[in-house]
């Protein structure tokens, strides 16, 4: 079922990483509802927050694919409600 999902990533301050993240949406024809790029608490690391409407299966796959990116430290998705937080970057979860 399609819902709003928020993707959050911590990336190095390098030109092509943001592009690689948005292209993961582009190639699946998912339109991005909002996108915010901001400083994080670590110098040289930026935080990306993207909201989009899609299914959990698709956003989960996007996150797992982005996890393999160079210059990306952490990526995660959750539903906008705070109590539904789900951590998918746990590598031992499989």
């Amino acid at each position: 079922m399609k819902k709003e999902y928020i993707l959050e990533a911590l990336i190095d301050n390098q030109i092509s990483v943001l592009n690689r993240i948005t292209s993961a949406y582009m190639k699946r024809q998912i339109s991005i509802e909002s996108l915010k790029l901001s400083k994080s608490y670590v110098k040289g690391v930026k935080k990306v927050v993207i909201s989009s409407h899609t299914t959990e299966e698709v956003i989960g796959h996007i996150v797992r694919q982005l996890n393999n990116l160079e210059d990306l430290h952490k990526v995660d998705y959750y539903l906008p409600k705070r109590n539904n937080h789900k951590n998918t970057t746990d590598k031992t979860g499989y």
Binding site: R64, N68, T92, Y94
Partner: protein
């Protein structure tokens, strides 16, 4: 410590030497000239192969990488030079091939001004590379090149593109080679996998009545061939292969049941549907392997081993997924695997093998419909018999590829080089050149069709100039055979633009000073294939084959694997 200043171009060359690069494939042009000027002095350390088209350079680098396991390197200029690499980069990304492409870029102060031969190389190559980076300062070169090679070969290998502005090539810098040290979390990921889970997996294998091992290219990349052999032999388990996994397991071994997928053997596809346990190693359940995903392996518990966890549960749901290097994971599984006879399972397999032999293979290996014409299967089979499974087979894409996969014999690993995921026509000839330069002691035979050969036949010039010994076998049916087959089967025989009026390939080969022969009759096949293999230099053998030949068996696109068309 004071180091001498050198320019960026030389720094790049020093980095390449430090990374162990011996051969680069390239094509010079405007913005890359400072690099080529320095390369002039490095002829004793790095061999440069001048290709005839940048696409040839990247495919050759892929062929080199696939034959050796080392990183293939290619060089091109800015703008058109870089855009000509795109197909090869996409191919390398799909087939997990470690390639580093170095392209030039215009002076950094002119970026974005539509300068002569400017293209947004970084922007264009984002979707087709594992990582890319634009260097604008010579001081960055050492670190970036070290990282580029690390990224290309680590984890699931892939292509990396480094764009180097012209000013970064001429700027003076103090050079010091730095080895790339990956971030701690990435390093740990590669090292660990779940030991006790592996022991459970061994127990699952022992309990299975109809187990099956599927090997993909991951087995070759991680060097896990012996581990697979050990598990298969110690458990008496049949092994099947994907197209990309071919040659990971010796094809003549009694446990090898064949090649799976759309044009695969009958036994592997039916086995998949009957099996109760599938051990899938280093493969990604591509649509050509699974057919209809919802009906794939309905009875099986699937154990998926891969280095890339984004492949888990992507198309096929697995019951157990283990992220890790195939060789290490299998090493943990193999001690627990016990021998079991499973006579019913083996008689099922032998039965299906027999059906294929009677209904497909015997038909493929006889001249077509009462003529003396050669069939494509006969040509590949002749090579397999006379070559004895020793040569590296490099294929193009289409019917020639499928017949090569079905009828070739492989004794050694890294002997099948083909464009699997992207299906790039024109891949064969340049990849063959790269493979031969990577493994000069082995015989390299390119099997190609008349269509694919003409997509990259300019690389005959590379063979001529560099004196490379590559054998080329053109299976000429004067058609784009695979498309023609689909038109016959699914488009009611409307052969829309698939027939080809071909040039005289003998004249083309002679123009490039390459020995050649043309055969049409079955009785000449063995002697000419032998002549080709015995020849000490390049040889082009044109085999004229029947136009109407189709590749069977076939699982139609989107159909379940047990829906096999036999004719």
């Amino acid at each position: 410590m004071k180091t001498e200043k050198i320019n960026g171009a030389e720094a790049l060359l020093k980095s390449l030497v430090n990374e162990g690069v011996e051969i680069i494939f390239g094509y010079p042009g405007g913005s890359i000239m400072p690099f080529y000027d320095e390369l002039y002095n490095y002829g004793d350390r790095i061999r440069h192969i001048l290709v005839r088209h940048e696409q040839g350079a990247v495919h050759a680098a892929e062929g080199y990488a696939r034959a050796t396991g080392r990183v293939g390197v290619c060089v091109a200029t800015s703008g058109p030079g870089a855009t000509n690499l795109i197909t090869g980069l996409a191919d390398a990304l799909m087939d997990s091939t470690p390639v580093v492409c170095i392209t030039a870029q215009v002076i950094s102060s002119k970026l974005g001004t539509n300068y002569f031969q400017e293209a947004d190389t970084i922007g264009i190559t984002i979707p087709v590379t594992k990582w890319n980076y634009q260097i604008t300062n010579a001081s960055e070169i050492s670190g970036v090149i070290a990282k580029a090679f690390y990224v290309a070969r680590s984890g699931r290998p892939g292509p990396v593109l480094i764009s180097l502005t012209r000013d970064a090539q001429v700027e003076m810098t103090e050079y010091r080679y730095e080895q790339y040290i990956p971030p701690v979390q990435k390093f740990n990921e590669d090292a660990e996998h779940n030991e006790w889970l592996c022991q459970d997996v061994a127990g699952m294998i022992n309990g299975a009545e109809k187990p099956l091992i599927i090997v993909g290219q991951g087995v070759i990349i991680s060097g896990a061939e012996n581990q697979v052999l050990k598990i298969a032999e110690s458990g008496n388990i049949p092994v099947i292969s994907t197209l990309m996994g071919l040659s990971a397991f010796p094809t003549t071994h009694r446990l090898f049941a064949g090649f799976a997928g759309m044009h695969g053997n009958i036994a592997p596809n039916l086995m998949t549907q009957q099996s109760d346990l599938i051990l899938a190693v280093g493969m990604r359940f591509s649509d050509r392997v699974t057919g209809d995903v919802s009906k794939y392996a309905p009875k099986a518990k699937i154990i998926h081993i891969d280095i890339d966890d984004s492949e888990f549960n992507k198309t096929v749901r697995s019951h157990v997924s283990i992220k890790g290097d195939a060789s290490r994971v299998l090493k943990s599984i193999s001690p627990g695997v016990k021998y079991r006879e499973r006579p019913q399972w083996w008689s099922f397999i032998d039965d299906k093998r027999m059906i294929e032999k009677e209904r497909i293979i015997s038909r493929d290996l006889t001249p077509v419909r009462g003529t003396k014409n050669i069939s494509m299967a006969m040509a590949v089979d002749a090579l397999a018999r006379i070559g004895g499974g020793e040569p590296v087979v490099v294929t193009d894409v289409g019917q020639n590829q499928m017949f090569s996969a079905r009828y070739s014999k492989f004794n050694k690993t890294r002997s099948m080089i083909t464009s699997g995921g992207l299906g790039t026509m024109g891949f064969g000839l340049p990849a063959g050149i790269g493979a031969k330069l990577g493994v000069p002691d082995r015989q390299v035979v390119v099997i190609t069709g008349d269509g694919g050969f003409q997509m990259s036949l300019q690389e005959l010039g590379t063979i001529m100039q560099s004196g490379i010994d590559v054998k080329i076998m053109i299976l000429n049916n004067s058609f784009l055979g695979m498309v023609r087959q689909w038109q016959e089967l699914f488009f009611e025989g409307r052969y829309s633009f698939t027939s080809m009026d071909n040039p005289d390939f003998m004249k083309i080969a002679s123009a490039y000073n390459i020995k050649c022969a043309r055969i049409e009759r079955a009785e000449d096949l063995d002697s000419k294939v032998k002549e080709m293999l015995d020849c000490k230099e390049s040889f082009l053998l044109e085999v004229v084959v029947d136009k109407r030949e189709n590749v069977f068996p076939m699982v139609p696109s989107g159909a379940p694997l047990d829906n096999i068309i036999l004719k």
